[in-house]
Amino acid sequence: MAAESAGESGRVLDEGDGVELLAYLVTAARTQVDEAAEYAPMRLLTAAGRLAEMAEPAASASLRPLLREIRQGVSETAVQAGDPAGYVDRLDALCRTVAEYLMRSLGLDTSP
């Protein structure tokens, strides 16, 4: 990432964490075949939350706020039923947070 100083960016997951996330994603693909469609985004968000939790201890100072925001913004029990518009709004807010981080970290926020 362009905005990271040397030595600040690097490996944020150990092999065990990587395997844990891998197992989660593969088995979630299988369980989702039998589950309600509204669970699909919830499972993806749980994976994002777990990834953020795993990465945070070794993450750079500039990345850590994003990881915290993702962990706080992810509710592992949130589903869209009953409030689809509000649910989409919350997901859009998370997407905006990620996009803003990308802009900063890639140095795109200062270029024309």
Binding site: T27, A28, S75, E76, V79, G82
Partner: protein, 176 residues
């Protein structure tokens, strides 16, 4: 009137966050033993119960269980012995074995609550992966996991759905 049972039913909650305080062996035996008293049609003993307490095994179980939000200190996996179900003469579509998984699960959850443990059921897991991890005999399929531990003070929000039916809407008295 002694309403301890009703009180237990009304105060039990699914624990989606657990502390790292251990579950004692006697506590585990007490919870496990309660399943003997769960209503099972015909008392046929078609179910198997696998107890998991080893941290590394619990971690592996959680890895293949996307619905397991909590990190349990112990788990009881309720399995159906489908070979026995077949021998008993059940048609494959008969829901009886699944219904009895439910009665066992409800009883285990209440038993855990009664001795101050936090517990939560999980059905979202890979049956194939879990059977492999637990080295289950052929024909024995895991159907539900009861996570056990001590409930954390802070819990993830419950799944709440706005609108929809009220409780009374779901009940029919006599003929419709």
């Amino acid at each position: 009137m002694n309403d301890a049972v009703l009180q237990a039913i009304r105060t039990r909650r699914v624990a989606r966050a657990l502390t790292d305080a251990p579950v004692g062996h006697e506590q585990l035996r007490t919870v496990l033993d309660s399943a003997r008293y769960a209503p099972h049609a015909g008392n046929r003993r078609l179910h198997r119960y696998v107890v998991v307490t080893r941290p590394s095994l619990l971690r592996a179980v959680r890895m293949v269980s996307p619905g397991m939000l909590q990190r349990p200190m112990a788990a009881i996996v309720i399995c159906v012995d489908w070979a026995q179900v077949h021998n008993y003469g059940f048609a494959p579509a008969n829901p009886g074995p699944y219904i009895d998984v439910g009665t066992a699960a409800a009883t285990l959850l209440l038993a855990a609550h009664s001795i101050g443990l936090g517990a939560g059921p999980v059905t979202s897991f890979s049956r194939t992966a879990l059977a492999t991890i637990l080295n289950l005999p052929a024909g024995v399929r895991p159907e539900l996991i009861i996570c056990l531990g001590h409930a954390a003070t802070e819990q993830p929000p419950a799944m709440r759905r706005r609108g929809g039916s009220s409780w009374d809407d779901l009940i029919q008295w006599e003929r419709g």
